[in-house]
Symmetry: C2
Subunit: 136 residues, 2 copies
DNA sequence: TGGCCTTATGTGTAAAATGTACATATATGG
DNA sequence: CCATATATGTACATTTTACACATAAGGCCA
């Protein structure tokens, strides 16, 4: 059994939110509170709202999204965000980056399978010291 | 055509290095310079060495790796790192986390396929505003 | 009406992580 | 002797995040 939290609160990578936010806004125009709920549905368990709201304002400052206040509904006023042309271009760029993450993760699991039971690969670095060497 | 760098130098997520470092050290005992080369082989194109060396010293401070100086070879002295039992436990925990990343990325591409050409999903947030509404 | 909860958006500030520039030392080759 | 590759490190500024706190509207209920 793995101990409950072996990572010491260093879990979520950073700069990981932006492509998901852009993708959500590619599909719907939403305000921050609903964006956060949607992100939770997509696996972001603990997005704290200041981080999300600041990210949204940064994206707007960069011109990748725009917002307008929606006051007609019930409850407090909502700032509804929509993606811009520039934001859709950015989403395309991020998609390539996320694809790179995907390849890196696939490589991780390939190496993981090798490390746990299979022979070391021939294409390792220059003559690395094998850890399971029996020549003590 | 996507512009050369639409992301504005905000590409690599943070906290992304640790599981790869642990996995490399699970397989070989290496010094930092070779670890960096191995990471480059695995798709980490731009790991700068201060970040890696700091990460290694942090892991050692945490007890997840140990190091010893190797002075017998040629060239400058090398600090060779090896993973510890605690480090292998941490690697197991990180593996679950990376698996979570993998799921999130798979969800990203699922949604990406939906956003680019297919109907919006029924399981979206509470009555979101559709972006392609024709009721202008 | 007064209090409490949910929704909804924000600020302030400290901590964490990274990137750039700089510094140091060994060996090899010209 | 100087340049280069190897190898490790420090110093500092920037970026990014996390935590605590603040504000406001509306619904519910006693």
């Amino acid at each position: 059994m793995v101990s409950p939290d072996p990572l010491g609160s260093r879990k979520l990578p950073k700069n990981f939110l932006t492509p998901w936010v852009l993708l959500v806004l590619k599909q719907w125009s939403l305000h921050g509170y609903l964006i956060m709920q949607q992100l939770n549905n997509m696996g972001f368990a603990e997005v704290d709202h200041p981080t999300l709201y600041r990210e949204l304002r940064r994206l707007e400052k960069e011109g990748h999204v725009v917002s307008e206040w929606q006051t007609d509904g019930s409850g407090p006023a909502k700032r509804v965000y929509s993606i811009t042309e520039a934001g859709e271009q950015m989403l395309l760029g991020w998609t390539e980056v996320v694809s790179g993450y995907q390849r890196m993760i696939a490589g991780f699991f390939d190496m993981y399978a090798q490390a746990f039971g299979m022979s070391p690969p021939a294409a390792g670095p220059d003559a690395p010291t094998e850890r399971d060497s029996t020549t003590t």
